[in-house]
């Protein structure tokens, strides 16, 4: 146990945090390299200059682009937290998209129809998301119905229900016939907009840059504390690691399953609130026949961060960054979806992250063993 004298390599090799970060970085680098190959297959001439470099540089090229990265990262952090939180409890919340949809409805309804201030709108988004997460949790806990199946069904139920209410055959008070979207908050509900606190001035007057990113980071910290410092987090993780042992220890696993899904839903709901109340976009009930991608990208963000809440902040920023890069690609050579392809490659590689971890560990530990020999063995 006398580890104080062991070398830096040895300490890093036994630091889980370092290994996770290093493994994720390796995933990213290899993913980008494979991405270049994909770019080269599509259009070899422009793969580097008009492909990879655009993706990698656009995010910081202008203050406006940086603003876009931040504005898109905030909701992604929330859905990433949602998925990651459920993962820690041994549940796969593929329903973040549906909870996000309900959250969007809650936020926009309170904003446009009820004319409530932004924080109450955000609260409404949270509550509706929570309800939409709790229902699959309930089915899982009491009827042992797989949460993946119910969540997927609730994604679609939520989407069409929300579309229907927001559109209301064109009569809905939320629907702007002129734009065929929900009313722009900038026009009808400025109180409901999340304050920018002057941030937009630093990002090329991009109005959608608000304190949303800080709210998301705050939630990440809260989730981290709950999971790692509280008895509740202890119980949730015990259920996630070994449901039987948790039961044996007297932990109420049914209650924890429902709570975990409820919280996951609330986090996804807040994500939608941050997005729509920052006026990044309006909801388009007639065109929105696909589930919001942010819900699923949350899975990527959580995987890349090994479900660590703090890691999710960075993984979300990264995904948001290369997604913005993707939109800047010249359509002459590539489509913007190439960013999704690269993200997907990175996520696939995350499946190897265990392998990378053990390789790094062996590499570092190997060095330690060699340097440790002279000092007379450390085991």
């Amino acid at each position: 146990m006398d580890n104080k004298k062991t070398s830096l390599g040895g300490r890093l090799a036994s630091s889980e945090a370092f290994l996770s970060v290093a493994a994720s970085l390796i995933c990213i680098v290899i993913g980008l390299l494979l991405g270049v190959i994909v770019l080269a297959i599509i259009n070899a001439e422009h793969a580097i200059g008009d492909g990879l470099l655009v993706i990698l540089q656009s995010g910081i090229k202008s203050p406006r682009n940086m603003g876009t990265v931040l504005a898109n990262a905030a909701p992604l952090i929330m859905t990433g937290l949602s998925v990651g939180f459920a993962f820690k409890t041994g549940l796969f919340n593929i329903g973040a998209a549906g909870q996000y949809t309900l959250g969007a409805f809650g936020a926009l309804y309170c904003a446009i129809v009820l004319q409530l201030p932004w924080y109450l709108c955000l609260l409404a988004a949270m509550v509706l998301g929570a309800i939409w997460g709790a229902i699959p949790g309930f089915f899982k806990a009491y009827m042992n119905i797989n949460e993946v199946i119910t969540s997927i069904m609730f994604n679609w139920i939520g989407l069409y229900m929300v579309n229907d209410i927001m559109y209301g055959k064109g009569q809905s008070p939320m629907y702007d016939l002129a734009t065929t979207k929900t009313y722009s908050l900038r026009k009808v509900a400025q109180d409901a907009m999340i304050p920018s606190c002057g941030m937009s001035d630093h990002f090329g007057k991009l109005q959608s840059v608000t304190i949303a990113i800080f709210i998301a980071i705050l939630f990440a910290v809260i989730v981290y504390v709950v999971l790692n410092k509280t008895t509740f987090g202890y119980e949730l993780k015990a259920c996630g690691f070994n449901k039987n042992a948790a039961q044996y220890a007297g932990i109420n696993d049914k209650r924890n399953i429902i709570l975990s899904m409820t919280i996951a839903g609330a986090l996804a709901g807040v994500g939608a609130g941050l997005y729509y109340l920052s006026t990044v976009a309006e909801w388009n009930p007639q065109v929105s026949t696909a589930l919001p991608a942010i819900g699923f990208n949350g899975i990527s963000a959580a995987l890349l961060a090994c479900s660590n809440p703090i890691g999710t902040i960075f993984s979300s920023l990264f995904i948001s960054y290369i997604t913005v890069g993707g939109t800047k690609l010249s359509t002459q050579y590539y489509t913007k979806e190439i960013a999704d392809v690269i993200t997907a490659l990175i996520i696939y590689l995350c499946a190897f992250s265990m392998l990378f971890r053990s390789k790094i560990r062996a590499l570092l530990a190997g060095k330690t063993r060699r340097t440790g020999l002279g000092k007379g063995g450390n085991d």
Binding site: M1, K229, T230, T231, F232, Y234, K237, A238, F241, N242, N244, A245, A246, Q247, Y248, A249, G250, I251, N252
Partner: protein, 509 residues
């Protein structure tokens, strides 16, 4: 021709971080029964896996009839006439005995490959006759007894004309009567010229059948001895490396009031509605160890699950002291004075991915001592864990922060025992607490159970190990098909009598 049919010379097999076999030599004579003795983790299974082609040794060579052979996989082993009965049988449950025996070497017509079962059946019946291996070739494996399943496994080897037969802990799943029969079969096989390698850690069985015995300890070969001229004590000392006291000195009993009282408890299977626990009544008093004996799967697990709250009873009452706990939650039962060392330490006993300290507070993390306002007190948990680790001698790589998964089975079990005993509850339910552990750990755990008894606690022990059933408790209750079929006094009973009850051949109200 060489004296030895199989020789494993200077075998070294390493796994990352551990040398499982270190320069081990084992020589098997033709027609002998050769026991391979060692504690868990001594390298017996690794050595046999090398012989059977499941692992490749880094150093050393294997010879058959004096010639060096290379065994790359079990097919090579089979071609050399080496067969193995694994501890967990490798049978297809929904196939008949005959189908299982011929599986992989099915006789078929040359063209079109139609099965020729008649021929196979003839051969199987011949073998079964010749070696006294009674089986019904047409019975489904799922319907036959464990003993018959084992005979099926043996017939599988014989059908393939194997001459070297490896038995991996074959008696672990059998009743005393079945063990006797197996011993007879093994002797018969040896008499017919088969050579047998017999892996075990039970000295009585070695004494009963083996000619010679090779002892392994911590991956090294301690020596090969003649069984007839070596005492059990000597062999056990070779195995453990020191003198072991497995026969317990018991202090005189000081019986107190009843702690656990079970009345007419019945549990039904959700799947087929049959009673798993049938109208069971008994009680356990302060200062005594009561042992539930029986063959695995006769309702012991379900009985314990019901007592501890993991399963719901259909009818009947459970009292802890004078409180009716029949409808309490698991947490309430734990807090009312029940400690539980579970049957499956990986499934129930530990959160394997949690650190040792987190596991040590698994039942009390919510205590005022370890949390306040919903936040865990990490310093208190660390201090408490260090105290228990010291007191119960739980060994691990990094102390309190060691991930439980990386600990050895014996130390995992010690951690559970430390946690459960330190709860200070009046009742301790210990289910197979020594399963899969080495002799040193077994000795420790049995002594700990006795210490609990002597300090005035009530202990309910569930065990499948005969020697444990006969030596540790003050009273034995035998369970058969969900019922308690007899109560025995361990001082006045024999393994044979116990076996008759366990097999359902005898019962008394």
């Amino acid at each position: 021709m060489s004296d030895y049919i199989i020789e494993m010379l200077n075998i070294t097999k390493e796994f990352p971080g551990i040398i499982a076999n270190d320069n081990v030599t084992l020589q098997l004579r033709r027609g002998e029964i050769h026991a391979l003795l060692g504690e868990n983790g001594a390298g017996k299974s690794t050595l046999m896996s090398v012989l059977f082609g499941l692992y490749q040794a880094e150093k050393g060579e294997i010879r058959k009839n004096g010639e060096v052979v290379r065994i790359k996989d079990p097919n090579d082993a089979n071609a050399l006439g080496i067969g193995m009965v694994h501890q967990h049988f490798k049978l297809v449950e929904v196939f008949s005995v005959l189908d299982n025996i011929i599986l992989g070497v099915e006789p078929a017509t040359k063209h079109l490959g139609f099965l020729q079962k008649a021929e196979a059946r003839k051969k199987v019946l011949e073998l079964s006759e010749r070696y006294g291996l009674k089986v019904d070739p047409d019975a489904m494996v799922e319907d036959i007894t464990v003993g018959m399943q084992q005979r099926t496994e043996i017939l599988k080897m014989l059908y393939r004309d194997n001459e070297v037969l490896i038995f991996d802990e074959p008696t672990a799943v059998l009743t005393p009567q079945e063990i006797d029969e197996l011993m007879k079969i093994m002797k018969g096989l040896a008499a017919e010229g088969k050579s047998i390698l017999f892996i075990t850690h039970k000295l009585d069985e070695i004494k009963a059948v083996a000619d010679r015995c090779t002892v392994l300890r911590k991956g090294r070969c301690v020596g090969t001895v003649d069984v007839a001229t070596t005492s059990k004590e000597e062999m056990s000392e070779m195995m453990v490396g020191r003198k072991v006291q497995l026969v317990m000195d018991k202090a005189p009993q000081k019986l107190g009031e009843s702690i656990l009282s079970v009345q007419n408890l019945t549990v039904r299977s959700k799947r087929h509605g049959k009673p798993l626990v049938n109208n069971v009544s008994f009680n356990v008093r302060r200062g005594e160890i009561v042992c539930i004996a029986g063959i695995d799967g006769n309702g012991q697990s379900e009985l314990v699950y019901t007592l501890t709250g993991l399963m719901k009873a259909e009818s009947g009452k459970v009292y802890l002291g004078d409180r009716d706990i029949s409808h309490m939650s698991i947490r309430e039962r734990n807090l009312s004075g029940m400690s539980h060392i579970p049957e499956d330490r990986h499934k129930h006993g530990l959160v394997l991915d949690y650190s040792l300290e987190n596991n040590l507070v698994l039942k009390r993390y919510f205590d005022k001592q370890f949390s306040s306002r919903g936040f865990l007190k990490f310093n208190e948990i660390r201090t408490y864990a260090e105290k228990l680790i010291e007191q119960y001698d739980v060994r691990s790589g990094q102390g309190p922060v060691t991930v439980a998964r990386s600990m050895s089975g014996g130390n995992q079990q010690k951690a559970i025992i430390a946690r459960e005993i330190d709860l200070g509850n009046d009742l301790l339910i210990a289910v197979q607490p020594t399963r899969g552990l080495d002799v040193g750990a077994i000795e420790y755990i049995r002594k700990e159970l006795l210490r609990q008894r002597d300090s005035g606690k009530a202990v309910l022990l569930v065990s499948l190990e005969l020697d444990e059933v006969l030596e540790v408790p003050d009273r034995i209750l035998v369970m058969y098909e969900g019922e308690i079929v007899g109560e025995l006094d361990p001082r006045h009973t024999t393994a044979k009598e116990l076996g008759l009850y366990m097999a359902g051949a005898q019962r008394k109200g």
